[in-house]
């Protein structure tokens, strides 16, 4: 998985398959999409991640053509999709509820798109059989959707769009209807399948873990805007905005002053920044280190601790506020007690983020 992620070029490819330029969309007085731009390269998997109501599904529906954006452009292979109706777009949608046709068998569901295109019957049968094999559902072709399990239904929904060989695959929360255990394996499987077929795909989800598992790049959306598009590690390590830092993973914030291109950290180290004046500093819980005793300038008191498998999470009160600290359990053979005095330090000052003060 890591290899595939490395191999997927983030920006080096010539022309992106999908180019979304400054798309706007409003419903009445409510702005749902505000200046959204995103390029997706050939064979890349991008996830639109954000809380419900952030506009991610709206953007997906605009790409599919179910809704028309009020401004901006959507291009696929350099061709503007503005005047292209839904049924002529080279886009395949996997719906959250799968939207399988209940009155058609699995084979007829998968062959539906080919039939609408007037493909000869023999070729439909051949391609449906191949698609069934691709999603390993061979032998279930005569079943009706209601006779399938959730995971099988999802694979039918995927096969149904794959047979049409769309340029862009759009998946709207495809794992929502599955139970938690199945979800994890399906996420891996689906990513491997898309990579094997070399397809370009956009996932929509509100589930961080899913986004990090499935995608080459994650686009974090908030209130109709795309806040940051970057590979999962970069989103986590170098969040572009305080919103992203707060949304992804756990984080500690405090207010400080930037002077002369740097912000001093309470432990005496410093972080470089372009900002000046009051700023917010963010550090991840695993980037903080605790030592027993009062041996440095940044002192605190353990309020609470809990063990999470191999890790211990501490809640520490210091003059910068309450901080979360994540340590390996081996580091402190016996976890530090509530009320014990500790000294804090930052492990990797480079991985601290500095944002403008609110």
């Amino acid at each position: 998985m890591m290899q595939a992620r490395m191999a997927a070029p983030a920006e080096a490819t010539p022309a992106p398959v999908l180019r979304i330029g400054a798309v706007h969309k409003r419903f009445g007085a409510l702005t749902v999409l505000d200046d959204c731009s995103l390029n997706v390269a050939e064979g890349e998997i991008v996830t639109l991640l954000g809380p419900s109501g952030c506009g991610k599904t709206t953007l997906l529906r605009c790409i599919a053509g179910f809704w028309a954006p009020d401004g901006g452009s959507i291009q696929i292979d350099g061709r503007d999709m503005g005047a292209v109706p839904v049924n002529r777009r080279p886009v395949g949608v996997v719906f959250q509820s799968y939207a399988l046709f209940p009155h058609l068998t699995v084979a007829a569901n998968i062959g539906y798109g080919l039939r609408m295109r007037g493909t000869p019957r023999a070729e439909i049968a051949r391609r449906v059989a191949r698609a069934l094999e691709t999603v390993s559902l061979s032998g279930l072709d005569a079943r009706y959707p209601a006779q399938l399990s959730g995971g099988q239904q999802q694979r039918v929904a995927i096969a149904r769009v794959l047979v049409l060989e769309p340029r862009v695959l759009l998946l709207d929360e495809p794992f929502n209807a599955l139970d938690a255990k199945l979800r994890g394996t399906m996420q891996m499987e689906l990513r491997q399948l898309i990579k094997r077929l070399g397809m370009t795909a956009i996932f929509v989800t509100h589930d961080q873990e899913e986004a990090l598992t499935v995608s080459d790049r994650v686009a974090i959306m908030n209130a109709g805007r795309i806040e940051q598009v970057a590979p999962p590690e970069e989103i986590f390590d170098r969040p572009a905005t305080a919103y992203v830092a707060d949304f992804i993973g756990n984080s500690n914030f405090w207010v400080a002053r930037a002077e002369g291109g740097r912000v001093a950290l309470p432990d005496g180290q410093a972080v470089a920044t372009d900002l000046a004046g009051p700023v917010r500093v963010m550090v991840r819980p695993h980037n903080l280190r605790l030592r027993a005793g009062e041996a440095g300038p940044w002192r605190g008191e353990v309020l609470h601790h809990r063990s999470i498998g191999p890790l211990v999470e501490y809640l520490v009160r210091s003059h910068t506020g309450e901080l979360r600290v994540l340590a390996m359990r081996l580091e402190h053979a016996r976890p530090l007690r509530e009320g014990s005095a500790v000294t804090l330090s930052v492990l990797e000052p480079d991985l601290c983020s500095v944002f403008p003060a609110p």
Binding site: V86, R88, V93, A99, Q147, V161
Partner: protein, 310 residues
């Protein structure tokens, strides 16, 4: 044992209360009892009486039945009578064509309801239900006014110069057909709307996304999924049209004979109750036969719903 000893016995309800309680919240057949009682009184008993009349020779004397003996004479007589055959043929073709007209005119309305916005939907519902608020007789009289010799249709056609003399519409087969179709249209539209508005709208989007045109989606997704609605509506419209009495009586001009008007004449004018009950029996049996055919056809188109639990 200890549980039984510990639990305090609940106060015994009075017998009336117990019965009421069973009727309202009992299991099995209990909640259906009131309906069954009503059905037995108003449907089963009269039906048995009707049958007994139809299958017996009755001697009357001074308005009272003197003797009643079993006989198949009325049934065989009816089946041998060519008038019966033509009348029932007419009733059947009238009801079937009304049903087809209602499907053809009702389906687009239901489709419009499906794809329409909030106000289109409201308007369709109001226009569909409003006629049901007036009596069928009133609506039939309205058709007399519209289709009559000096009615709206004839006056318009004459003013447009398409015809010189008023067309004779009222008192023909066509007037009956037009009236029946209009009066029974809501009964077709309402089940259609009920079934179609329960459909998942994503199916239409999925169909479009897979390359289907609007017509393709209508033909391959919406139409097959609304088959149960079509079947329900068709069965209702057929039953109502096949057994209707008012419309043919008024728009057919009194001498338009269908099964129901035939029964009316036999019972009210010629006082041949046995004949009338045999006619009613034939009407009912043939109606059931058609309903079975409709159910079989509908089953064929909705067989995908059967395997759900398999």
């Amino acid at each position: 044992m200890t549980d039984a000893a510990l639990s305090r016995p609940a106060p015994l309800p009075r017998p009336g209360e117990a019965l009421l309680d069973k009727l309202l919240s009992g299991r099995g057949i209990w909640p259906a009892v009131p309906a069954i009682v009503v059905l037995v009184v108003v449907a089963v008993i009269p039906f048995v009486m009707l049958l007994s009349l139809g299958f017996s020779d009755i001697e009357m004397s001074r308005g009272a039945i003197v003797s009643q003996t079993f006989s198949l004479a009325h049934l065989t007589g009816a089946l041998a009578d060519p008038l019966y055959w033509t009348t029932f043929q007419r009733s059947l073709s009238l009801a079937l064509s009304t049903m087809l007209i209602c499907i053809v005119f009702g389906y687009p309305v239901a489709y419009l309801y499906l794809i329409g916005g909030r106000w289109t939907r409201r308007l369709i519902l109001i226009l569909t239900i409003a006629p049901l608020l007036t009596s069928g007789i009133v609506r039939t009289y309205a058709w007399l006014v519209i289709l009559g010799g000096r009615g709206v249709v004839n006056m318009t056609l004459m003013q447009m110069g398409l015809i010189d003399r008023p067309l004779r519409i009222v008192n023909t087969h066509w007037a009956v057909l037009i009236g029946m179709a209009q009066i029974h249209l809501p009964v077709m539209i309402l089940p259609l709307i009920a079934v179609m508005s329960r459909q998942d709208r994503r199916l239409e989007e999925a169909s479009a996304n897979l390359g289907a045109s609007r017509m393709g989606t209508l033909r391959h997704v919406i139409l097959p999924l609304s088959a149960p609605g079509i079947a329900t509506g068709a069965a209702l419209v057929f039953t109502l049209s096949y057994t209707t009495f008012v419309v043919p009586q008024l728009l057919g001009g009194g001498n338009y004979l269908n099964a129901a008007t035939m029964i009316y004449e036999q019972v009210v004018y010629s006082l041949e109750w046995s004949k009338g009950s045999v006619t009613a029996l034939i009407l009912m049996v043939t109606c059931l036969m058609v309903l079975v055919v409709i159910a079989l056809i509908s089953n064929h188109f909705t067989r995908w719903t059967k395997g759900r639990d398999a």
